[in-house]
Symmetry: C2
């Protein structure tokens, strides 16, 4: 148990797992009162520093079956996802850990491994942290990034395309399988749980989109598509028409198992995609002229797995689904609901 | 209760309390996925970015009688103290708050007021944060600063002077008064509790010391003088001779009440100063030639309330107290103990 290591022993054990580039980070985790980063070397000429902080904790964020490695991974990934949503380059990360006294050392080793693996997978150095004794495991990460043209939530204009990376509803399906103890095909279960337990921050996609110069607004989808659309609408002062059948619901891997498997269990994939969180895909708007710039558009579609799911409309029209039945458009107002802490 | 506000209502209520300079912070708390800071405008030419993160939480850090304002203040102050220990200029702060669902809105308003007041008192903008529902109140702050010559823990050389800002043991006295329910003079009680409940980060002092160019190592004293000396000794590879009677024990205000008041209650002021935390003064070493640079030395002593408490000795001599009885030096090894989370 970590109690036996003592605070100094625990810190020493943890910090040696974090690898830093000494040219850039002249003081790393556990080495001094603060981490020290050479700005010129880290920022590579970028104009803006971006900062985000996000907490994951036992009682709220750890679904049954998540491994300690995945807990650590998630603590980093949720922060990186916010960096991705600005189209920024992450470079440094700090982790404050509240740890119950009875926690096994091997458990914390794996949490720390997950933190380091996720950070280093996205060129991010874990430069500092803090440990306290707490009632439940609680991890607060703070991530720093650089950007020249951080993509804001405000900026969508009427007529812009509404797009989303990857597919939605996978993490929600994973949660449903756990909550309702449902048996499905092993590979569906594995894919859904991986989406839930080990989210992938869309760092590379965010950077490519920001660099394209055609993205007008962006946000990550942490609490379901509906809430993220509502946030974007509010910040940009617009409404959205969403083509319901264009929303990429569930990954190919899961869909290939057959919709009947899911419908058999009463899952409405649309519900999962719209009103449940955990996918960490990017929702963004793009200047419609992007389509005319054929080469750029092709590059974006190739490099960033993405779908056009709607268009920006005036604020007074609100946010609605649009389905075409024969040649007739049917509109349906979107409910604004999803995961909320309070 | 904050539950009634809902997550969006709570965030909106909180973020409007945080004042930012829009020239520098182009996206503040609650405005986007990340805060966005214009590096050139914020850093004013400094070479290094420094980062620190620190958590305060109900079950460990909130002594009986602390007000919600002081809880918020402390969450910022403990982070600023780490920035001070590098001799850096703080400029941005993020706060992740785990809040129990039954918390009163007025309570959180005061916590937020404390956060804003402490940050703005030291020219620091609260630029971002996160809220989650948790079992106990837990606040994790992350502070960013800039520095040209961050003062490290490593750097003390044999022969350097050992110095400390302010006075030690005040917060520990406050804690003792609470724990042992002791009545002392009102002004002593008020001063001791203020030291405990609302620590003062030595930002200005840290900057002046770093800028003097004569400080060779520095650390803040969060868990008692003994542990901080041990950390500095380890990082610098040195030992310390501490002149016991030169250590500034208790503030003038408290001392003026008369030592007999304290000794009456069985307090050993030396114990309080050496082995208990919460003072957040700076411990540093300075090149002994500083004394010969009379003007600089006078300036430092005037601008930074400080005491010379010892000198740096070779590592193999360890850390010891030195008292002079008549002309005879008496040495006594220092115990390495103080507050530890695990």
């Amino acid at each position: 148990m970590i109690e036996q290591l003592g605070e100094t022993g625990l810190i020493e054990r943890i910090v040696k797992r974090f690898h830093i580039d000494r040219q850039t980070v002249t003081a790393g985790a556990g080495e001094d009162d603060c981490a020290v980063i050479d700005i010129a070397k880290a920022k590579s000429g970028h104009k803006y520093l971006v900062v985000t902080t996000d907490t994951v904790q036992e009682s709220t964020h750890f679904p049954k079956g998540i491994t300690p490695f995945q807990i650590g991974w998630t603590a980093v990934a949720v922060n990186l996802s916010d960096i991705a949503a600005m189209g920024a380059h992450p470079f440094a990360f700090t982790i404050a850990m509240g740890i119950p006294a009875h926690t096994a050392t091997s458990f914390m080793d794996k949490v720390v491994e997950g933190i380091e693996k996720c950070a280093s997978a996205y060129n991010t150095a874990v430069v500092g942290g803090d440990i306290t004794r707490s009632k439940e495991l609680i991890l607060t990460g703070t991530c720093l990034g650089f950007a020249d043209n951080p993509v804001r939530r405000a900026g969508a204009g009427v007529g812009d395309l509404v797009c989303v990376t990857g597919s939605l509803g996978n993490a929600a399906l994973g949660m449903k399988l756990i909550e309702e103890e449902i048996q499905v095909q092993k590979r569906v279960e594995a894919a859904a749980k991986k989406a839930l337990f080990q989210p992938v921050p869309r760092i590379q996609e965010g950077i490519i989109l920001a660099d394209s110069g055609l993205v007008t607004s962006m946000i990550d989808i942490s609490d379901g598509l509906a809430l993220s659309l509502a946030e974007l609408a509010k910040s940009s002062g617009v409404g959205f028409e969403i083509y319901e059948d264009k929303v990429p619901v569930l990954s190919e891997e899961i869909r290939s198992a057959g919709d009947f498997v899911l419908s058999m269990h009463g899952f409405d994939p649309r519900e999962l995609a719209f009103y449940y969180g955990g996918d960490y895909e990017l929702l963004f708007t793009a200047d419609a002229q992007v389509i005319e710039k054929e080469e750029l558009w092709e590059m974006l579609r190739r490099e960033v797995k993405m779908s056009v799911i709607g268009k920006v409309v005036p604020a007074e029209e609100g946010i609605y689904f649009c389905t075409k039945i024969r040649e007739e458009k049917k509109k349906e107002k979107m409910e604004i609901k999803g995961y909320r802490h309070f």
